[in-house]
């Protein structure tokens, strides 16, 4: 059974590695002889920002996937399908990022931001479906401290990204800022992240 999880991880690693490397193909080389190269390179800053953000997001999703599978010990057909669903989300990321990069400064920033935040909302749900299934089927040691922390950290994901999505109609910059904050939150190891969640919970209570 060990071998099965190993091959799921290998396949997923491949998908993550390719998705993250394809991002550079979007940045086009300024053509020779049109204008001053330095100026042209500087004018391309939205492409660079968009590249770095997508890179960070896919990288952080890889770290999270990695964390899940250090806890998951067995695999079955449904787990493979749920993992595929998650990978579908990962593969899609470059598209809404490119749409956002191209339309952020124009009149169509709202639909672009909805597409972008909607994608993250869906991925947060897919992460929870995978993790919830693995826990329910006893593929994870339920009493493990790390597993509990992952459950807390992931449990708040869909709600947080829904807030991101709804914020688009109030303030697009605020919505994107919250998205970056959430990325940092998921880059943290679960033990720190749960401390943040508990701190917030206390703040709500008081």
């Amino acid at each position: 059974m060990e071998k099965e999880t190993a091959r799921i991880e290998a396949f997923s690693d491949g998908v993550f590695a390719i998705a993250i490397t394809l991002l550079i193909l979007e940045i086009k080389v300024p053509p020779a002889g049109t204008a001053d190269l330095a100026t042209q390179l500087i004018k391309q800053w939205p492409s660079y920002v968009s590249f770095v953000i997508s890179f960070a997001f896919i990288g952080i999703m890889w770290i999270n996937h990695h964390r899940l599978f250090t806890q998951i010990r067995r695999s079955d057909n449904t787990l493979m399908l749920l993992n595929l669903l998650l990978l579908l989300g990962v593969c899609v990321v470059p598209y809404p990022t490119a749409v956002l990069a191209q339309h952020l400064s124009g009149p169509d920033q709202r639909p672009a931001a909805v597409l972008y935040q909607g994608t993250y909302f869906a991925i947060a749900i897919f992460f929870n479906l995978l993790w919830g299934y693995a826990r329910k089927r006893g593929m994870v040691e339920k009493t493990s401290e790390s597993a509990l922390r992952i459950s807390v950290q992931y449990g708040v994901g869909p709600f947080s990204y829904l807030v991101c999505l709804l914020l688009v109609w109030i303030s697009i910059p605020a919505s994107l800022l919250l998205n970056v904050v959430l990325a940092v939150f998921y880059a943290l190891p679960p033990q720190h992240a749960t401390t943040v969640v508990k701190g917030k919970a206390k703040a709500f209570e008081s």
Copy 2:
């Protein structure tokens, strides 16, 4: 010998992972300043549908490849060549899918559907060649319950996809629908799938 199968699987995983990730490159970002972005994004729905279908097919083929190789214990030169033939089929998939996506609503839907269903018919044959060879050469435990189930599930493949292909001349929607049904059938684990096959066999008898 164990090591040889491991490297075939690693190489195949790479090919599957890349083929599935390259699919997103086909969806183009709507250019800024031409029309309302939301409308443009919605008008691109055939690209999304085509992306999801191809993703699901390649993903399900990966799961099936994975299943085969949990049963196959040894490898030789011919097995590697037959595996390459199967991977050729996998790598080709994005092309007929793109052709179908672009021509499904136009006057040329028949040749597009023939190309599409013909590809799946060929892949079904390649899967059976690989599996049949591995069984004949004793690379699989013949008495294993799982191996027998795989044989039943795969055995019906070429015939079913031939029906898909021939249906194109009668009804293209019916042909595509049967294709989706077959995808679900191959996403099922072999034990459930064989139950379906036996159920159908009984229905025919009565």
Copy 3:
């Protein structure tokens, strides 16, 4: 030390898998509404032929690389650099293939064929450099029957591909035919291939 070879193989597998999968990107979907789709698809046959040939070549090179590394037990810095040189050859293959596919029926078939056969000549040399180094440094069991067979099969490579290259100035079809024959020869397991070599040697003697 075992681990080092494992990672070289993993990296090489990645490069082979990507090179072989990128080939499909070269086949373009015929645009809708220009002409009868079936006719257009049939007219694209040179692209299909070129795709299948490149796929077979890269696949067969992967099998050969795999064979080498089942014999190579250790690794060092120079071996890694020689392996990189070989991978450079593999990565380049799609380019001369595309050039040949586009110019085979035109007036420029000679330079296209020179580029194509020259690439294979270089790769045959790179394979021998890697193998020769590994043998010289005792990374391979010299007395092993399989290792000896690989030495014979690879030893004839550079000479054979040089013949292919020179044939371009006499007859391009003959040159390409010899290339396909050589591909089949390298797809054979070393024990059969050496029999072929010995057979030819005898034929020369008599």
Copy 4:
């Protein structure tokens, strides 16, 4: 814990393998029927040179990454993030190389060279951040001879690439030449490289 490093290496190998293989996509096939093919192929030499240089650089970075991880025994969240930062640098390489290739012979060679050398300067810093962190956290056996040699070889990296970057304002050919010398230096195994460093130190002293 072993398993964690294994998956970081697998993911990194994937990224390196894809980045190195995507390079060929930049070389375009000369269109049929415009001019003599042989002339056109020869005129594309800057693309070939740029391809070989990028290939060598990414390949040498892979060898160096490989060396680091034969020394690193454990992993944590920060190490994964620092490794991602390094991979970001690797993924970016094709872009400044393409910019340099297109502008090296034109009036904009200075900004192109700054972008190019700046990228290598950043990557040299990222390598040291990763290695420094792993050493500080005791993930590497500090007394190991190999680890000490890596520290010396990498320690001189940021300074050397800063010299490369600053040389751009004095002489672009000299700057690029130093870059190639540094690539050869990092292609050497650490024991030879440290001898070079010590030799230079002595030369300075005398």
